[in-house]
């Protein structure tokens, strides 16, 4: 049987080499299919990592709030932040909200860390300058429009400190912030300035966290934070996370759709080539059947040719696919793609499957060829 197997392999190789131009066309089709498959799948695997930086421009994807009624302690927040993986944490921004008045009208003043805001909320658009000195502040676009406040103006505000005593302060508006969200209705100042007015330190109402991680990972971190720092509650910002998931989902669907189309085209290319080859080899198939070859042996030979084509085409395509993924990643994301090596045999296996599937109809035609045609001299 070993002799027969080696003889069959020899027949297959000779047959493939003899029709090398046709086989080259089929191989090219398979290789393109495998290249697109591996390239796209590699990108699909890598895109969430690639785009995490881009997604952080959406803003914070987790918030820390106090689990009780009182304000959150910033030391607790710092403790919670230690549970975020180093490198994935983009930043944490505390926010402290207090009611103030200006010209007898009520406003909400927010104390924060502007350097941290630039990291966690890069979508803030500031006309003017960011506050850098004592008693400098930003005013939301809605307030600026309503109260006709422009950068450079000093506002006199008053409010109540932690002891319910009245405080008064003058703040200089350095810029107008516009986000299209609730921020447009607030006055933002440096947290130390607010702490000086309210005479209380180390407190915040909410801390926004921006972290390059998926929903599952964030959920796990939130669970750990809840256990380790019971005074805090970590909540996922569903709006941001779901937007990220939607973008990734649509991108992945597009990539998979393109891959599917290319695989179908590959299948058509291989099926057409194999059909032509079988038509060209009608006499040879008829002869083999006349010599006593059963249908299953004819089918086995053609499927074996398909497997060889799938293996060779798949291997060539896999190599090209990795180069393609690297090229796309370098051009679009400006970084190299991480190669998942187990995808290479998977891409080759899919190529073999696609090729064998493409051979189904041609092989059916082959086994339908009548041996009698060799006697008719066709």
């Amino acid at each position: 049987m070993k002799k027969n197997t080696s003889f069959m392999i020899k027949m297959l190789c000779c047959s493939l080499v003899r029709r090398r131009s046709r086989m080259a066309a089929a191989l090219l089709g398979i290789a393109i299919g495998a290249a697109v498959l591996l390239g796209m799948v590699t990108l699909c695997y890598d895109i969430p990592k690639q785009m995490s930086k881009e997604f952080r421009s959406y803003g914070a994807n987790m918030v820390l709030v106090s689990s009780g009624r009182e304000s959150m302690n910033l030391d607790d927040a710092a403790k919670a932040v230690r549970h975020f993986p180093e490198g994935a944490l983009v930043g944490m921004t505390p926010f402290r909200y207090i009611p103030v008045r200006h010209n007898m009208l009520p406003y909400t003043a927010v104390g924060t860390d502007f350097d941290a805001v630039k990291k966690t909320s890069p979508y803030w658009r500031v006309s003017g300058e960011w506050p850098a000195k004592e008693n400098e502040a930003l005013v939301g676009a809605d307030i600026a429009e309503y109260a006709r406040i422009s950068p450079g103006r000093t506002l006199a505000i008053d409010g109540r400190n932690s002891k319910h005593a009245k405080f008064e302060a003058n703040i200089t508006i350095t810029g107008i912030v516009k986000t299209g969200g609730v921020e447009d209705g607030f006055i933002f100042m440096r947290l130390p300035d607010m702490e000086a007015m309210t005479e209380e330190k180390g407190l915040a109402d909410v801390a926004e966290i921006s972290c390059s991680a998926g929903e599952k990972e964030l959920q796990d971190i939130a669970a750990v934070v809840r256990t380790d720092v019971p005074s805090l509650e970590a909540r996922l910002v569903k709006r941001v996370i779901q937007s990220e998931a939607a973008v990734l989902g649509k991108l992945e669907m597009l990539l998979y759709l393109v891959t599917l189309v290319v695989l179908v085209l590959t299948m058509i290319c291989v099926a057409t080539t194999m059909m032509t080859v079988i038509m060209e080899r009608r006499r040879e198939i008829g002869l083999k059947k006349a010599l006593g070859a059963e249908d299953r042996r004819i089918a086995k030979e053609f499927f074996a040719e398909g497997v060889i084509l799938g293996l060779v085409g798949g291997l060539c395509g896999a190599i090209c696919g990795l180069l393609f993924a690297q090229f796309v990643s370098a051009s679009v994301f400006d970084r190299s793609v991480a190669v998942e090596f187990y995808l290479i045999p998977a891409a080759i296996a899919v190529s073999v499957l696609v090729t064998v599937a493409a051979c189904l109809l041609p092989v059916r035609r082959a086994v339908e060829i009548e041996p009698a045609l060799v006697l008719r001299g066709e």
Partner: protein, 241 residues
């Protein structure tokens, strides 16, 4: 002297063996065309029969049926004890593989395989390839020196001899030859007919389809078909072979 010994041998075979092929009242109808009508014929083991007839007489249909590549519409065909008119397509493939050696007018060698490998193809589909045996078969047709040549490197006569070697490799009960000299020049025709004669002397049963009366005359009997009917059977003089 040799001719006398040969004739004696043929007569001895006749006495010992029975009919290897028995065709009983077969007809073949394709749509509205009667390709064969009520043919009855038998071929004894070791016999050399030629089937002759003009184009459209039913020769090819007859070959297809004897060669297990088609079945009659009615009647029976017994080949070496098997009624091939009742067998399934798969069973007919088995009969073709085990009992019939086919020789074609156009040789039908696999172009990308050497002469030796072309002989081995028949072994491959029959059982297990045996290079030595395939070489012996080529030696039998005088082509041992051309074993590694591709078909395109062989003359028409040599290709036909490879085809004969391939037909012989599995020791068939019946050699079925379709116009074996139809594509050959006179010199090669002589070589091939001489080979058939040697095979016949060795006890092989040969059924040969030809349109050439000169070639048919080498056979012991000539079966003439006309319009799908058996017109006549003539015995050829012993001196002719």
């Amino acid at each position: 002297m040799a001719l006398v010994v040969y004739n004696l041998k043929v007569e001895m075979l006749r006495e010992v063996f029975v009919n290897i092929l028995e065709i009983q009242d077969i007809s073949k109808i394709y749509g509205t065309v009667n390709a064969l009508r009520n043919i009855t014929l038998s071929v004894q083991q070791g016999e050399w029969a030629a089937i002759m007839g003009p184009s459209g007489s039913g020769k090819t249909t007859m070959m297809n049926i004897i060669g297990c590549m088609d079945k009659p519409t009615s009647g029976s065909v017994i080949l070496d004890g098997d009624d091939i008119s009742r067998l399934s397509s798969e069973e007919l493939t088995g009969i073709r593989r085990d009992k019939i050696g086919l020789v074609f007018q156009q040789f039908h060698l696999v172009p990308y395989l050497t002469a030796l490998e072309n002989v081995m193809v028949a072994q491959y589909y029959h059982s297990i390839i045996d290079k030595e045996e395939a070489l012996q078969s080529l030696e039998r047709v005088g082509l041992q020196d051309r074993a590694e040549h591709l078909p395109r490197q062989l003359s028409g006569g040599e290709q036909q001899r490879v085809c004969i070697a391939r037909a012989l490799i599995n020791h068939p009960k019946l050699i079925l030859a379709d116009e074996p000299t139809g594509n050959l020049d006179e010199a090669n025709e002589g070589i091939v007919m001489d080979l058939f004669r040697q095979l016949h002397c060795g006890g092989s049963t040969i059924v040969m389809v030809t349109h050439d009366p000169g070639v048919a005359a080498h056979a012991e009997r000539t079966v003439v078909l006309e319009h799908g009917r058996l017109a006549r059977i003539t015995s050829n003089p012993a001196k002719d072979f």
